[in-house]
């Protein structure tokens, strides 16, 4: 009851005009940075940090959390409409989201992301309010072996997607992992595949792989067809309405919502893992255990709901260890921690005693932010979908410009533009020769994370990799990962044998 009363007071605090004002600003800024590939969510929060110096502590935190929340959502637009993931979070979203949009239902796809963001956000905010202490305790028991196992599961479950050739998927994944190893390794500082070139020493940003292979690759493909071939997605005279899923449609997906929220919260809590991993793992889990797992990737709602729900719910998850222990659970929360420190407040167990009302106001602001974000999103969908009415060459030109600005903005490095073009060509060739792009992008995003957690584990456990199966949580996840890997191979072999037997 104490919690409810505290939360009530928190809501009153949040509805102060100043707090509401900064929240709206935060939500809009968060969406903007999420849309542009070069400006990541974390960078956006970094850029906003200096503006908080002159503010009070509460408005500063409200501004940054609002940016964080809407940053997990804004990229959905470009991802679904143009196949440009604004953030790595949005990569799994485009697998089904873009497919659904190309089937002529972009408004519906965006409606689903909105529902997912709302559902995931509210579930995780509720968990954060009522269960932060026990959940935080559990999170502390997880360490690098679990972290590594979760990443392996994420990769394993996505390899089997799409139903195409498994060996092609593996080639694509390993190529992605190989790209991720270029540069200086994070543990021993050894140079790999750099050949003494300073540009390579800094590594190849996953952003270039992600935006190049998807965004540019798609444009090249359309260019080849001379921008014909695709019929108009929407009749020009047709009235576009945001298509919200009906209550019964949502009801059918309640398992997906539930699973993905829980996954999102757990991944969010683990220090170092954030919305990106949550999004990949939730998509992977859905394609393994969902009711319609066979259709994943073909443009079904589950494939949109799972990653978006998990991404937004990871926000609440990441805030739990920050507030209860002073440990940031993700990149963005590390900066929010910085904002706390700059205002002379140390998050940690004592914060609930020393600044209780403020903590509840932060909790309350998360609820309001999520709802506010969805309202903003609702009004954004209609004009955004209209963009697709423009002639395809025009849209494509903007896509190219968008990709290039993104690639350049990330590091202010001109040579990154050549790299992104190269990946665009690679993406195009992949599509042409029926190699899946998803594992390539996945490998380049998750590879470095998996490597550093693996190395930390090996160093910590005296090079004894068996801890992976000796610890219960990592063992469970590893078994799931192995099943996820072996099952599709087995299935493919069986199908091949069956077709061979059928041949005379």
């Amino acid at each position: 009851m104490e919690i409810i009363a505290g939360l009530g007071a928190g809501f009153l605090e949040v509805f102060q005009p100043m707090n509401m004002f900064v929240m709206v600003i935060g939500l809009v800024l968060g969406m903007l940075v999420a849309v542009l590939p070069g400006l990541t969510l974390v960078m956006g929060v970094v850029l906003a940090l200096p503006f908080t110096y002159s503010m009070g502590l509460l408005p500063s935190i409200i501004l940054l959390t609002a940016m964080y929340v809407s940053g997990t959502y804004g990229g959905a637009f470009t991802s679904i409409l143009f196949r440009i993931p604004g953030e790595p979070i949005d990569v799994p979203l485009l697998w089904d989201g873009y497919a659904m949009a190309r089937k002529g239902r972009p408004a519906k796809a965006l409606g689903w992301t909105l529902c997912a963001a709302l559902g995931g956000g509210l579930i995780s905010a509720t968990v954060m309010v009522f269960l932060s202490h026990p959940v935080a305790k559990f999170a502390l028991t997880l360490s690098s072996p679990e972290y590594f196992a979760i990443l392996i599961f994420g990769m394993a479950s996505v390899v089997s997607l799409g139903g195409g050739s498994i060996s092609n998927a593996f080639i694509s994944l390993f190529l992605g992992l190989l790209i991720a190893t270029v540069g200086v390794d994070s543990i021993y500082g050894t140079e790999r595949f750099a050949f003494g070139v300073p540009f390579l020493q800094d590594g190849i940003e996953y952003l270039l792989v992600m935006v190049g292979a998807y965004g540019l690759g798609e444009v090249f493909q359309r260019l080849e067809k001379g921008f014909r071939g695709e019929e108009k997605l929407m009749g020009a005279d047709q009235e576009i309405v945001t298509e919200f899923p009906t209550a019964s449609e949502i009801g059918q997906l309640k398992g997906t919502f539930f699973r993905s929220s829980i996954l999102g919260i757990i991944v969010g809590i683990i220090p170092g893992a954030g919305a990106t991993i949550a999004s990949f793992v939730a998509y992977g889990a859905e394609s393994q255990y969902g009711k319609r797992r066979k259709e994943m990737g073909s443009g079904i709602a589950e494939g949109i709901v799972a990653p978006q729900t998990a991404a937004t719910s990871s926000v609440g998850g990441a805030l739990i260890p920050l507030l209860t222990m002073g440990i940031p659970g993700s990149g963005a929360t590390a900066i929010i921690l910085g904002a706390f420190l700059l205002h002379g407040v140390q998050p940690g167990p004592q914060i609930f005693v020393s600044s209780g009302p403020m903590v509840y106001a932060i909790f309350a602001s998360l609820f309001v932010s999520i709802i506010g974000m969805c309202i903003l999103g609702y009004f954004a969908i209609k004009p955004l979908v209209k963009v697709l009415d423009m002639p395809e060459p025009v849209v494509s030109a903007f896509v190219v410009m968008f990709c290039f600005i993104g690639a350049f903005a990330a590091r202010n490095n001109l040579s990154d533009l050549y790299v992104i073009t190269a990946f665009g060509i690679l993406g195009y060739l992949f599509d042409k020769f029926k190699f899946p792009i998803a594992p390539l992008v996945l490998g380049s995003i998750l590879g470095p994370l998996a490597e550093s957690s693996f190395m930390t584990m090996m160093v910590s456990e005296n090079n004894d990799w068996t801890v992976l199966i000796a610890r219960p949580v990592s063992a469970t996840v590893m078994v799931l990962a192995v099943i996820a890997l072996v099952y599709p191979i087995h299935r493919q072999l069986r199908e091949r044998r069956a077709t061979r037997a059928n041949k005379p």
Partner: protein
């Protein structure tokens, strides 16, 4: 439809403005500084180096009447930021934070700069590192650690920043004294602190100021500080000198500018920094960060201090 295009154009404009600000060269010779002085922080926002840059920037801004915008350039143990500094013209409009761990890369390898590339403007912070344990740890005193490390060498795990860091060198020195500990690198502070609170490691190598909240909330406690005398505020915790370990290597944070910058500008900046470091506000900041009260070393002696620390690191790591 408008909102759809506003976004990229808006950000593109920012990108253009930023690049112009960066490229706009050495115009205006008479008055310095005429435009904002970019403060490169080779670490992420919110960390110790970042907080220092923002604090000093605020104090300098009031004095020199220009702003000191912070640019975070994390990566390669601070080397990405150093590269950035050395790529900018030597006109005093770019300054950077150089910390002990980045200096350590001169010894351990991976440094993309030489000490002679830089002119220090002052050492602003010195914090003694120490070993910390979870509140409920089986180690009550430093001696407990030594006893167990000698009985079962290579079983006690220590969370450190990374291989080749000052942390690693200190553990190397201890190993030479027969106290073999296992270093486990966690680059992100969040993971490092979670590892000690979650019991995945036994000891944490850190500066007290960075884990203020864990000390205040009695989640961790110190066992030993690497210092010649006992550290202020921790009167009952032994110093390394007392237990016969003559290694100190405090974490230092200094401000540097490119070598070859006009001496007048260097002097102007260095004087302003010395003035800022003398303010009560800065003293309060040092106290809050649990840094040494006598942290500040003026520009004249800073070069000697940093070179001395690097020489010590070289000796410790056994490299020439």
């Amino acid at each position: 439809m408008k909102s759809r295009f506003d976004a990229p154009i808006f950000k593109w404009a920012i990108a253009v403005i930023c690049s112009m600000a960066a490229a706009g060269g050495a115009l205006g010779q008479e008055h310095f500084p005429q435009r904002p002085v970019e403060t490169i922080v080779p670490w992420g926002p919110g960390g110790g180096a970042d907080q220092l840059a923002r604090k000093i920037g605020k104090l300098l801004e009031a004095d020199l009447k220009t702003s000191f915008p912070v640019l975070n350039v994390p990566g390669a143990t601070g080397n990405a930021g150093m590269t950035k500094l050395l790529a900018a013209p030597a006109d005093g409009y770019s300054i950077a934070i150089l910390i002990g761990d980045t200096a350590a890369t001169l010894v351990s390898g991976g440094a993309r700069w030489k000490l002679s590339d830089l002119t220090p403007l002052g050492v602003l912070m010195r914090q003694n590192s120490g070993f910390f344990v979870q509140q409920a740890s089986r180690f009550k005193t430093w001696n407990d650690v030594v006893t167990e490390a000698k009985a079962k060498p290579g079983t006690i795990k220590v969370a450190i920043l990374g291989f080749g860091s000052v942390d690693d060198m200190t553990l190397g020195y201890l190993a030479g004294k027969g106290i073999t500990l296992v270093p486990v690198p966690y680059a992100s502070p969040g993971e490092r602190y979670a590892s000690i609170l979650g019991g995945h490691v036994d000891l944490l190598f850190e500066q007290a100021g960075d884990i203020h909240s864990f000390l205040d909330s009695k989640q961790v406690r110190p066992l030993l500080f690497f210092s010649e005398d006992r550290v202020e505020g921790f009167a009952d915790i032994p110093s390394s000198k007392e237990v016969g370990l003559e290694i100190y290597l405090p974490q230092f944070r200094s401000i540097v500018v490119r070598a070859g910058t006009d001496p007048q500008r260097v002097k102007l900046l260095a004087d302003a920094i010395a003035k800022a470091a003398g303010t009560p506000e800065y003293a309060a900041f040092l106290k809050e960060s649990l840094a040494r009260r006598d942290s500040f070393i003026p520009a004249g002696e800073a070069q000697k201090f940093i070179a001395g620390e690097i020489a010590t690191m070289q000796k410790m790591s056994g490299k020439k």
